[in-house]
C-alpha cells in the first residue's frame, strides 16, 4: 500500500475533500431524520432533544456542517462545470481556489450568526 501513494495536487485534494464532506453531511442527515421524527412521538421530547442543538458544542458542530455543506456544494458545482463545459478544465485550479475562498468566507459569516448568542454572552454553555 505505502509503495503506491499518489501525491496529487489540488485536484486530488478537491477529490478527498468532496468525499470527506459528503460522508459527513450524509451522516448528519441520518441523525437529523431521527431527531425530527421525535416530533411525531412526543412534542415535549422533541423540544428537549432539539434544545441541545442550541448549546455551544453543537453550535460549533453546526458551523462545521455549514462548512462541509458549502464546500461540497461549491466543489460539486466545479465538478459539474469541468464535466459539462470543455473550456472549464483550463481554469480548474483557479476554480478550486475560488471554492476554498468562498467556503471560508461564507462559513465565517454564517458561523458568526450561528455563534452570535454565545459571542454576545446570552448563552454560557
Amino acid at each position: 500500500m505505502s509503495s503506491t501513494v499518489y501525491k496529487g495536487k489540488s485536484g486530488q485534494w478537491a477529490f478527498i475533500g468532496h468525499r470527506v464532506t459528503g460522508f459527513l453531511v450524509f451522516f448528519f442527515l441520518l441523525l437529523h431524520v431521527v431527531d425530527v421524527s421525535l416530533v411525531n412521538i412526543d412534542a415535549e421530547l422533541y423540544n428537549e432533544v432539539h434544545h441541545l442543538y442550541g448549546n455551544v458544542m453543537l453550535r460549533l458542530f453546526e458551523v462545521g456542517l455549514l462548512g462541509a455543506l458549502l464546500f461540497h456544494s461549491l466543489n460539486g458545482l466545479r465538478v459539474v462545470m469541468v464535466d459539462f463545459f470543455p473550456g472549464a478544465i483550463r481554469n480548474e485550479k483557479s476554480m478550486f481556489t475560488a471554492v476554498l475562498a468562498l467556503t471560508g468566507v461564507l462559513t465565517v459569516v454564517g458561523g458568526y450568526v450561528i455563534m452570535k448568542p454565545f459571542i454576545e454572552g446570552r448563552i454560557l454553555s
Binding site: S37, H50, L66, S73, V80
Partner: protein, 135 residues
C-alpha cells in the same frame, strides 16, 4: 476484398476500445443522477440551512415551528424532496466510496447491505414522519 481490409481497424492496444460502443448502463445514469440531483440539492439544502440556522436561531425551530411549517403541504413536499434526493445522492456517493476502499468482496457485500438497510429504513421512517404528522 481490398475495401474490407481498409475498414478493419488497426491492430493496437486501443482496438477493444475502438470497437466498444458507448452504452447507457446503470453507472452512466448514476453519474448523471449525481450531477443533476447535486444541482437541485445545492438550492434545497442551502435554503433549508439558511432558514433553520441563519434566518431563525436553531433554538427557535421547536415543535411549534414544525407545526407552523408543516401546516403548509408545500413545505412538506419541499422537506420530503430534500429527504429523498439527499438520501439517494448520499447512498450513491457512499456506494462509490465503499467500492473504492473495501477490497475484500465479502466485506463489501456486508458494508453495502448495512448501507442500503439503514438508508432504506430512514427513508421510510422520514417519509412516515412527514406524511403522518398531524401537529
Amino acid at each position: 476484398m481490398s475495401r474490407r481490409l481498409e475498414e478493419r481497424p488497426v491492430a493496437s492496444a486501443n482496438r477493444p476500445k475502438l470497437e466498444r460502443r458507448p452504452r447507457q448502463n446503470f453507472e452512466t445514469w448514476s453519474w448523471y443522477f449525481m450531477r443533476i440531483s447535486g444541482l437541485v440539492l445545492i438550492f434545497l439544502a442551502l435554503t433549508h440551512f439558511t432558514i433553520t440556522h441563519i434566518v431563525y436561531d436553531v433554538v427557535e425551530t421547536d415543535a411549534q415551528f414544525v407545526a407552523d411549517r408543516w401546516s403548509n403541504p408545500l413545505w412538506r413536499a419541499y422537506d420530503w424532496t430534500l429527504l429523498a434526493l439527499g438520501l439517494m445522492h448520499g447512498i450513491n456517493g457512499l456506494r462509490w466510496i465503499l467500492d473504492d476502499y473495501i477490497r475484500v468482496p465479502a466485506k463489501r457485500v456486508v458494508a453495502k447491505a448495512v448501507l442500503y438497510s439503514v438508508t432504506g429504513f430512514l427513508f421510510f421512517y422520514g417519509t412516515l414522519t412527514i406524511v403522518t404528522y398531524q401537529g
